[in-house]
């Protein structure tokens, strides 16, 4: 017995050390972004990298905020205010991710409920279609999608990125799995009480699948934020770019000015990380809630 516990203890210690090393490795890119963004050009291009910035500089941020000025808002053709492009990109990205999140949650919750609880014609076929399309990379429909978006007059518009994101069927799948758990008796009871379909949905179904909606919201928000490809092919004007696209463009322009690029990366990463840290509990709760039934 003693030997076992000794071995267990040693094993635990080794595990802890490995975990800490791994944690440092996972933290390192972020550390490198943040320190890189305040390093001078000479330090960045030195063959002997410095672990800490020796000379603290704000040049990279100054440079980042002096590029591509854009209007703060464009209200129906009238442009208000003037901000550095990077700020506008950040606003565009937030708008895009929030809209995609809201629309996806609403449509997917409704559809998932219908697929799980309604027995209508073509249900199985539709569900198979959804499952088959779930893992489909968007590159597959690259060309037809651009043509379609152009025909709709949405090209170079943030909605051109939002709509296809909402169309991606993973959300419906997730919500369907979640809605399976709604007890039929509750729906029956609501019906007997004379509640309309919509009323049943909002007052019975939604409260029950709330955790699932939370999970989907987080998932969609992050996915949409990170969906560089759709942004790449749909947006061109510098005032319509997202922050990811903005950094990528900067990378193409000044491919080795890593200080500037890191400043952009920091600007893109820090807000969402702060949001994540604040709502960390809800994040993990939401994610796990989504999977329990999944």
């Amino acid at each position: 017995m003693k030997i076992t516990s000794g071995r267990t203890k040693a094993y635990r210690t080794v595990t802890l050390i490995v975990l800490i090393v791994l944690a440092l490795l996972f933290l390192f890119p972020l550390y490198w972004i943040l320190t890189g963004s305040v390093k001078t050009m000479a330090e960045i291009n030195s063959a002997t990298p410095r672990w800490f910035p020796q000379e603290f500089t704000l040049r990279n941020y100054a440079e980042l905020f002096s590029r591509r000025s854009a209007p703060l808002l464009s209200l129906f053709g009238v442009e208000v205010g003037k901000v550095p492009g990077a700020i506008r990109w950040l606003l565009n990205t937030v708008f895009m991710a929030v809209m995609a999140m809201i629309l996806t949650c609403i449509t997917a919750a409704m559809a998932g409920y219908a697929l799980a609880k309604k027995r209508f014609f073509g249900r199985t076929l539709l569900f198979s279609l959804i499952v088959a399309a779930m893992a489909l990379p968007k590159q597959v429909i690259l060309i037809p999608l651009i043509r379609e978006i152009s025909a709709l007059g949405l090209y170079d518009n943030i909605w051109a990125v939002i709509f296809p994101t909402v169309g991606w069927p993973f959300g419906v799948f997730l919500m369907k799995q979640f809605s399976e758990g709604i007890p039929g008796e509750m729906l029956e009871a609501a019906r007997i009480d004379g509640a309309s379909e919509l009323k049943t949905f909002t007052s019975v179904v939604v409260p029950l699948i709330k955790p699932g909606i939370g999970a989907l919201a987080i998932f969609t928000f992050i996915n949409s934020w990170n969906d560089y490809f759709m942004q790449l092919i749909m947006l061109t004007s510098s005032k319509n770019l997202t922050i990811s696209l903005g950094i990528a463009t900067m990378q193409a322009e000044n491919s080795t000015d890593f200080g500037l690029i890191m400043a952009g990366a920091a600007l893109a990463a820090v807000p969402i990380i702060v949001v994540f840290l604040i709502f960390q509990k809800y994040f993990t709760k939401g994610i796990t809630m989504g999977a329990v039934k999944g």
Partner: protein, 464 residues
């Protein structure tokens, strides 16, 4: 907490919705073709109905420009377009492309029928690619006899197709060259192989210089960049010049880069110590590495780079650490053949006569008027014409020593073969070939095989 969150969310939504609602409105106007009369633009509503054959110019056009000297610099371009707007009332929205992803962007935009009105680049894209594929407006009516006399003959020829259509109006031109870090050369004792005065060297001198550099630094000092097509004129010129190989036939009907002389050059480069095929960088990154002192030579060079290395604004002819940069012709036995760069404007055919008319005014203003001198100076290259509407352009760089020195290279300007059919596919095949050569075992057979298969790919594209 929840309440504040809700308020915050609502705020973001409203702001965003408004912002993007606005975007929708502007994009729609951008895309409207023949009827530009929307509520947002009272100016257009007041425009007189277009007289037959003489359409009124639109009041808003878009220009996409590649980084051609300071035409890639927002501030410099804004000064130019503001002056244009003040005089003509035509507002110009400028987007800045890069060589790394610019072509993808333009092609995407063409697919989406949202190409810009004006584009600034060279004949290989404007004439041989988008022009040949029917997306550009024929602007041959902009060239009168005086213009044709004033314009450089080679530049003029490159902007016209065989059928006599013109898809580019040339503004500036130069010869592409390479550069060496003189300070490093002196340190390594490689300066003895370089004639600073004539800016030329033989193949043997180049090889000797490389040997001296490697003996001194013992590490990679030069990269044959090939992660993409950016700056490929440099790698092509190096390979062609070393042993006198060719790239296309003289009549630009087929690609001949499977020339054994090119295979020999690629093999020589493979075997050179300190010079590596590097598929992780492109031309722009090579320049940056050179500027930062990592590379001692750069193949992606020209006068604009010499005047403002790495566009960093830290002094003409100097690296980041203050080393002296000397521009050089590509090493060759006999006269080197330098790749030309010819840049100007072309007009995309978006089916809107008013916008085309405005774009033509733009071209006239910058390429053929008293304002041309400013446009040329901004580009940091030589004017493509001797004079424009009475303004002499031949002497605009007279007070610039570096420019004067650079004219020594101009006689070596070689054939402008970039207008060969299938150019877009051919240059793609070129950098993929360099990657394969670099990844091969370096045997002559392996290199010849790579060269042959990619040259065949390019020729398939040239056949149509």
């Amino acid at each position: 907490m929840k309440k504040y969150l809700a308020i915050l969310l609502a705020l973001v939504l409203v702001i965003g919705l408004a912002a993007c609602g606005g975007t929708t409105a502007t994009t729609t106007t951008d895309q409207q073709t023949t009827t530009t009369t929307t509520n947002n633009e009272p100016a257009t509503t007041n425009t007189e109905p277009a007289a037959e054959g003489e359409p009124a110019a639109a009041t808003e056009i878009t220009l996409w420009t590649y980084p051609i000297g300071n035409w890639g610099n927002e501030e410099a371009v804004k000064a130019l377009t503001d002056a244009f707007t003040a005089e003509t009332g035509i507002k110009v929205t400028v987007e800045y492309l890069t060589y790394a992803d610019g072509d993808d962007k333009v092609n995407t935009a063409i697919t989406a029928k949202a190409a810009p009105d004006l584009i600034m680049e060279g004949p290989e894209r404007l004439v041989a690619n988008w022009g040949a594929n029917g997306y550009m407006v024929d602007i041959s009516d902009l060239f009168d006899d005086t213009d044709k006399a004033e314009l450089n003959a080679a530049a003029l020829a490159a902007c016209f197709t065989d059928a006599g259509a013109a898809y580019e109006y040339p503004l500036v031109m130069t010869a592409h060259c390479m550069a060496i870090n003189w300070t490093a050369f002196v340190e390594a004792g490689a300066d003895q192989y370089v004639d600073r005065d004539s800016h030329t060297w033989t193949t043997q001198q180049y090889l000797d210089a490389c040997a001296a550099l490697y003996a001194y630094y013992g590490d990679t000092f030069s990269g044959i960049y090939c992660s993409g097509q950016g700056g490929d004129q440099g790698t092509r010129a190096l390979v062609n010049n070393l042993y006198g190989g060719t790239f296309t036939t003289a009549d630009h009907s087929a690609y001949t880069w499977d020339d054994p002389l090119n295979v020999k050059a690629l093999k020589t480069i493979y075997d050179l110590q300190g010079v590596e095929y590097d598929p992780s960088i492109n031309g722009g990154e090579e320049i940056a590495n050179f500027y930062n002192g990592i590379f001692k030579m750069a193949y992606c060079w020209n006068i604009a780079q010499q005047l403002n290395p790495n566009s960093a604004g830290t002094g003409a002819g100097l690296t980041a650490t203050g080393d002296e940069i000397v521009f050089m012709a590509f090493p060759a036995d006999g006269d080197p053949a330098l790749q030309g760069g010819i840049w100007g404007f072309g007009i995309f055919d978006n089916g809107d006569a008013a916008r085309i008319e405005a774009a033509k005014q733009f071209i006239k203003y910058f390429c053929d008027s008293e304002h041309t001198a400013d446009a040329v100076r901004t580009a940091n290259y030589f004017a493509a014409r001797s004079a424009a509407e009475g303004t002499d352009l031949s002497a605009i760089w007279a007070d610039n020593e570096i420019m004067n020195e650079y004219t020594k290279l101009m006689p070596y300007l070689g054939d402008y073969y970039q207008v060969t059919k299938g150019w877009a596919q051919a240059r793609t095949a070129w950098w993929n070939m360099l990657q394969q050569v670099g990844a091969s075992d370096g045997s002559e057979e392996a290199i010849a095989a790579a060269v042959a298969s990619f040259a065949a790919e390019a020729n398939a594209a040239a056949q149509g």
